[in-house]
Symmetry: C2
Subunit: 279 residues, 2 copies
């Protein structure tokens, strides 16, 4: 018996675009590639963001960016030509600060120098937990050893990792991300880190709450199959992967995560979404 | 029904010392604590090694030391007062070089500067595998990223880790060991490293072959519960842990590895062994 293809795909990509109420975009690898200075915008992405903003879809940005304060990296994106404001962007650091307050924890920070200001108002004396972000060059042997020494000295060691990415793409090549150092400290201290950021469902849900939408009404578009697409799907959203940023062809044969759709770039994704909704 | 304690312990520590033919000692944390300069000898250990050498027991040293060539670290131990020679010592680097030859592999090295000479005769052009050792300060973000870039660019990435220790003790505190960076690269590249060194049974067996003894005839003494004691037990030897070096009280309640005996230090272990054999 033949099943009509249009029915099979009815709830899939890109047909699902018809019933969407909102879109969440990842930043690095979707809007731009990071690197020296501001990095470079990905061709067509600025125009695509503009089209989404002019549509009836709600738009938010969900990122594991932890190399700078929100103000700094939103400023960078504006300079690259993107229509984006701080209130539309959800990174892990503010979510981490909320968790610290809730649980009365004082962090030892192993993060990028650019992120330190986000933690200005946070008590860091006599630390009883460790927070790691994408510290890049700050991931020296000395600094990792220092974070380890704090953790191993605690009766109940708590490690927060701002994301769990393996690597990301900069203009001069792939770079190791925070998840790699999370695994390092997990092994050193024989503990399990708490991830704050994508792919945590709690984190995605906080963005949905801000939008006032249900997961099935929202599509996530990212370049990271596991953290963007897989995380969004776990949370009940559809997830589409772009073939920019850290995308690798092997992602399309991943053993556990299957994107609802794979597109060449954000411009193509947005054109497909808007053309579905035009019918 | 009461079971007589002497029967229960008949095959255990220290009774097993009666039938031993050889002893294998770990170096760092058993003979000495590493640190600035040569580090410091652990009290009573030099005399204990001397007593073992004067006994009828065969003696070898099995170490995951990869910060220096054998000649260098054996020289250090001699300066610290130990009667020890290069031919009695089994570290991972020479075992790794044998594996490279056997499999026609050319390594990219992320190791301590002090170890580089061991690999002088090895072809390192156009690398098709990565070897990591206890590189200490060489575990910079830049160097780890470089090793990652080699691995991620290979169709069949091969990572050799010279040991898998979590941390070791230096005179100024605990230091992260190679296993931590092995886990980091395993996660980054989604692969499983091949461990050369303790606790690999292949590695322990190469020492037993050199001694011409069976596993049940040999006792391993180390400060690392998992890699020294657990590794030796997996190989069929008895394993005793010393409460020096990286020993932590929680080791005595470890969920999976139980030492055959735990002693304060090497001096006490050797006295117990020799007194059992005197009866």
């Amino acid at each position: 018996m033949r099943i009509r293809r249009s029915n099979m795909a009815a709830m899939g990509w890109p047909d699902c675009a018809k019933s969407l109420k909102g879109v969440i975009l990842d930043l690095c690898g979707v809007l731009y590639d990071s690197g020296e200075g501001d990095g470079v915008a990905i061709s067509g992405s600025a125009a695509a963001v503009k089209k989404l903003k002019e549509s009836d879809l709600l738009l938010r940005f969900c990122t594991n960016e932890t190399q700078a304060t929100r103000e700094k990296f939103v400023g960078k994106l504006q300079r690259l030509g993107f229509d984006i404001s701080v209130s539309e962007v959800f990174p892990p650091a503010p979510a981490a600060i909320a968790v610290l307050k809730e649980r009365g924890l004082r962090p030892h920070l192993l993060v990028h120098d650019g992120l330190l200001n986000e933690f200005d108002g946070v008590d860091k004396t006599n630390p009883n937990c460790v927070i790691i972000g994408d510290a890049a060059e700050n991931f020296s042997y000395k600094n990792l050893n220092e974070a380890f020494t704090v953790l191993i000295g605690l009766a109940n060691p708590v490690l927060f990792s701002l994301g769990q990415g393996r690597y990301y793409k900069e203009t001069d090549g792939l770079k190791l991300d925070v998840g790699v150092y999370m695994k390092a400290l997990e092994y050193a201290c024989d503990l399990k880190a708490e991830v704050i950021g994508k792919p945590s469902s709690t984190f995605f849900q906080s963005v949905l709450n801000d939008m006032g939408l249900q997961p099935h009404e929202v599509l996530m578009i990212g370049d990271d199959l596991v953290n963007d697409v897989g995380g969004a799907q776990q949370c009940g959203m559809k997830g589409v992967q772009v073939r920019t940023g850290k995308y690798r062809p092997s992602d399309e044969k991943h053993p556990t995560v299957k994107a609802d759709g794979t597109v060449d770039n954000l411009a193509q994704a947005v054109d497909m979404i808007l053309s579905q909704r035009a019918h």
